[in-house]
């Protein structure tokens, strides 16, 4: 196993576990806060939905373009890696 393989596997394990834990934790916390049939909770649910819908992707366009560029570059590097290893 060479350096990149090691890094890749470690990254998948660490980031995968971290992401799953954080996402589950966040979702459960949000669900607990929004659950309930009272008017206050209903309004809060509606407001959260409106807040999410009002999000503008254009505001993060620069970051998203950079991420897309990096993903393409990583794909090319993986492809090149495969060619050399053959």
């Amino acid at each position: 196993m060479h350096l990149f393989d090691l890094y890749r596997r470690l990254l998948v394990i660490v980031l995968g576990v971290y992401t799953v834990i954080r996402l589950t934790q966040g979702t459960l916390r949000l669900a607990a806060r929004l659950r309930g049939s009272s008017r206050r909770r209903r309004v809060l649910r509606g407001y959260v939905a409106v807040l999410a819908l009002r999000m503008r992707v254009r505001r993060f366009a620069a970051e998203l373009i950079q991420i897309a560029g990096l993903l393409i570059l990583l794909g090319l590097l993986l492809y090149a890696h495969g060619l050399i290893m053959e």
Partner: protein, 262 residues
């Protein structure tokens, strides 16, 4: 619908219900419809008079009643019945009827039981309304007008110029209020009006402040949401940059290994 609760007449009452009322209750009910029942009137005649008055009120046009309410400076809740509107109109004692439309004059004349012909013209209606006022009532009104003039002069209130033709009656001054309601009633009405205005201005101000605060909170929450998303994207970007760097190093290492035949 047949009820008179909390002193507000909401609809017509049937004859048997009217018969069951006491003479005072009937007189009170009739007064709220602008009908003065004589004290010695027997039950049947009183009930018949009230029923006739109810039929008359039901036939009134709501637009005309609204015009009369605006003219008298009265307010009723939206969707109020003809009876409720008439009860308010009956409280108006003003004789300044010059600004009313012919239909409103006719309605007012009928409510005040002025004797008018079948198709009266405007002058006839105004004459009939003035004729209908009792001598005592006229004297009282003139007296109140004099007191109103004196009080207006005392507090230095000058009559407001008539507004441009907006179709609305200007707010009554202290003079008109005293003329309509008497000295105490007029002054009380004036103070109440000022207090109402102050409260409504303050309530508007509070509402505006709450709206402004809510907008601020909304803006802050939106900023917080954007900040959170931007942070997550930045972390993702750094991870990708690190991956690319390691991939490049690994690629060079793999190429060197292949090239050197290791």
């Amino acid at each position: 619908m047949a009820t008179a609760d909390d002193g507000q007449l909401l609809g017509p009452m049937k004859a048997d219900l009217l018969s069951d009322l006491s003479a005072e209750q009937r007189a009170d009910l009739a007064a709220r419809m602008g009908l003065a029942l004589e004290e010695d009137l027997d039950v049947n005649h009183a009930v018949r008079a009230i029923l006739e008055r109810q039929a008359l009120i039901l036939g009134f046009d709501r637009e005309v009643l609204a015009e009369l309410l605006a003219w008298g400076g009265c307010h009723v809740e939206a969707g109020a019945t003809n009876f409720r509107m008439v009860a308010e109109i009956c409280r108006i004692t003003s004789m300044r009827v010059g600004g009313l439309s012919n239909r409103a004059l006719l309605t007012l004349a009928r409510l005040r039981e002025a004797e008018v012909g079948r198709y009266p013209d405007r002058e006839e209606l105004i004459r009939a309304l003035k004729r209908q006022e009792s001598l005592r009532g006229k004297f009282e009104r003139k007296r109140r007008r004099l007191v109103g003039k004196l009080v207006a002069k005392l507090i230095g209130e000058t009559p407001a110029p008539p507004p441009p033709d907006t179709g609305e009656r200007p707010l009554p001054g202290i003079r008109e209020q005293i003329e309509q309601l008497g000295l105490v009633g007029g002054l009380a009405g004036r103070i109440r009006g000022a207090a109402d205005d102050y409260i409504s201005v303050k309530l508007d101000e509070i509402e505006r402040r709450i709206d402004r605060k809510l907008d601020e909170i909304d803006l802050r929450l939106a900023e917080w949401r954007d900040q959170e998303i931007a942070n997550r994207l930045r972390i993702l970007k750094f991870t990708l940059v690190a991956s690319v760097i390691v991939a490049v190093i690994s690629l060079i290492y793999a190429w060197l290994k292949t090239a050197l035949g290791m």
